[in-house]
């Protein structure tokens, strides 16, 4: 680029030219994640699970929050990534961690592309059903392909060689895993963040807000949706691959409706279409689940149900949306016009 163009005075133009710039608080989540590493060395297992969930929710945000693809089957891609890493390692084909993640992304993207090609012609209930059935199909396939996938029992004892040949994955003290996953999450986040602030991301929000109008301005709507769905699947695949590496096993739970519903709940709880909703939702949900779900499983389920009902009826923006409402309200209080 040549000399920087003069800044706009119009607030609308300023908002658009400035929105992709790094905000002051944006390093905060990453600093907190690092602080967690030093402060809670005995809870790093929980920490890795949390980071993986953030990444998975982020992938869903791209499809659901930005492009408005309502899916109940996103665990299909998480599972595809997990099984890719698990099967490659278990059958002694390949187990280098980082390249394995590329393989996981590629397989998940391929499934996302192939299914998106046909699914994204439909909308509403039909789309919902098709995503659900595709996931159930993969789950059944993983259950049946016993020789390859370990069937109902899954694949255990996946061995992962040291990262860069130096840092060993220790299953008892997952320090290396934690930092490795944090690094992968950062890379993926920067990628997704770039994407949603790009003109492509802007056009996805256009499709979400009004598909018919996007057709009328000449946008290749289906192609865009397929591209978005494929990328989202790839990121979900990376999350699944990380899960397999961190746990050293893969099982059918990576592919199930439970996981798909949970990630949806997490994203909605945090606030969808907001990039950081995945972080907030995952932290809020996982911490609550960690403390409540084992002690009071029924109360936890009741509370979760109640929360979903309340979010759907009153707080569509989730926790971050509530934050917006409160800050707007404070601003109005401070500057009565």
């Amino acid at each position: 680029m040549s000399a920087p163009a003069p800044a706009y005075e119009n607030p609308g133009a300023q908002a658009l030219t400035g929105r992709h710039r790094l905000r002051l608080w944006e390093p905060l989540p990453w600093l907190l994640a690092l602080a967690f590493y030093f402060l809670f060395p005995r809870h790093l297992g929980f920490g890795t699970e949390l980071l993986i969930t953030v990444l998975f929710a982020l992938s869903l945000d791209l499809a659901l929050g930005y492009a408005g693809i309502v899916t109940l089957g996103h665990a299909a891609f998480f599972g595809a990534g997990a099984y890719t890493v698990g099967m490659l390692a278990h059958h002694g084909i390949w187990n280098e961690p980082i390249t394995s993640l590329f393989a996981a992304a590629a397989v998940a993207a391929a499934i996302g592309f192939a299914s998106g090609l046909v699914l994204l012609r439909t909308t509403g209930l039909t789309l919902l059903m098709l995503t659900l059935c595709t996931m159930a199909l993969l789950e059944e396939a993983a259950n049946l392909g016993h020789d390859w996938t370990g069937g109902f029992d899954g694949l255990t004892g996946i061995t992962i060689p040291p990262l860069f040949g130096l840092f060993e994955f220790n299953p008892l003290f997952p320090k290396v895993q934690y930092l490795y996953i944090l690094g992968v999450l950062l890379v993926c986040f920067v990628f997704v963040r770039t994407l949603v602030y790009s003109p492509f991301g802007q056009s996805l929000t256009g499709i979400r807000e009004n598909t018919l109008r996007m057709h009328a301005v000449g946008a290749p709507v289906r192609t865009r949706l397929i591209v978005c769905y494929t990328i989202s699947a790839a990121v979900a695949g990376v999350a699944g691959g990380l899960w397999a590496q961190a746990n050293a096993y893969v099982n059918l739970s990576t592919l199930g409706l439970d996981r798909a519903a949970t990630v949806l709940i997490i994203l909605v709880l945090g606030g969808y279409g907001r990039l950081y909703g995945a972080f907030v939702g995952a932290v809020a949900y996982m911490v609550l689940a960690h403390f409540l779900s084992k002690l009071y499983p029924t109360a936890w389920q009741l509370g979760l149900g109640l929360m979903l009902v309340i979010i759907a009826l009153f707080f569509r923006g989730g926790i971050l949306g509530m934050g917006d409402v409160i800050t707007n309200w404070l601003r109005k209080l401070r500057a009565p016009s």
Binding site: G12, S198, P199, Q202
Partner: protein, 250 residues
């Protein structure tokens, strides 16, 4: 003058219901053409046939002599046909500027760009801001559509369409719901367009139609009832009878 858009014996049936019957219509370059008719005459259906939202049951649609009868909507847009909607179709959760940005980015081929921020496409933003200026919307550029008065939203509807830089502009009741104090903004914006563009407008506001149009087509029950200059149409007793009959029913 060259013919931009032409239909030859276009008909559209929904089951047993004939929505358009044997329409032969020409829109010349530079035309300021109005399409009028009582409610349910099939005006919007006709626009939908021109833009490819609906495909005709029979007949052909030509753009500059090229057969586009079965062409997809998005492709027709690329060839220069743009329209506004009778009921606003906006990106309600986005700002006014973003609404127009999306349209322009699509036209200039920026919209598939993934790795640079939208805010760095100054060319798109500049053009969008200029367009908002002409529609007196610049002060609302930062506002979300959902929080905008209906009349302003109507102008955004037009802005998105003008962002396509169309050669054929189809306006479906652009001034409906716009306060009369602001409806001149719409006419001024259309006046400011390059003269070579062909504009077809549907409206019930006869004031606006007669101020704007050089040629008027009257559609009744899906068929062309009369066509001529505003003077001819104004003096046509049959047209008057149709409108009076309509008025008598209301």
């Amino acid at each position: 003058m060259t013919t931009l858009l032409e239909t030859r014996s276009v008909s559209k049936n929904f089951g047993a219901l004939a929505a358009s019957t044997d329409i032969n219509f020409k829109l010349e370059s530079g035309a300021r053409h109005a399409l009028i008719g009582p409610n349910g005459a099939g005006k919007t259906t006709f626009i939908n046939l021109l833009t490819g939202v609906l495909l005709p049951s029979s007949g052909t649609v030509l753009l500059k002599g090229r057969d586009i009868t079965t062409m997809e909507q998005a492709q027709r847009v690329k060839l220069g046909i743009a329209r506004t909607f009778q009921i606003n179709r906006l990106f309600r959760g986005l700002s006014v500027l973003e609404n127009v940005y999306i349209s322009i980015a699509e036209r200039v081929g920026a919209a598939s760009q993934m790795l640079a921020p939208a805010g760095t496409r100054r060319d798109v933003i500049d053009e969008a801001m200029a367009l908002l200026e002409t529609l007196k919307l610049a002060n609302d550029a930062h506002r979300t559509i959902a929080g905008l008065p209906y009349g302003r939203q109507r102008l955004v509807e037009l802005a998105i369409t003008l962002g396509q830089k169309p050669e054929v502009l189809l306006l479906d009741e652009p001034a409906a719901g716009v306060p009369s104090a602001e409806s001149h903004i719409i006419l001024d914006a259309i006046d400011a367009l390059p003269k070579s563009i062909g504009v077809l407008i549907i409206d019930h506001d006869m004031d606006l139609v007669f101020r704007f149009a050089q040629r008027i087509t009257v559609l009744v029950r899906g068929a062309i009832f009369a066509e001529g200059t505003p003077k001819e149409i104004g003096a046509n007793p049959d047209v008057r009878a149709v409108y009076l009959g309509q008025a008598a029913h209301v």
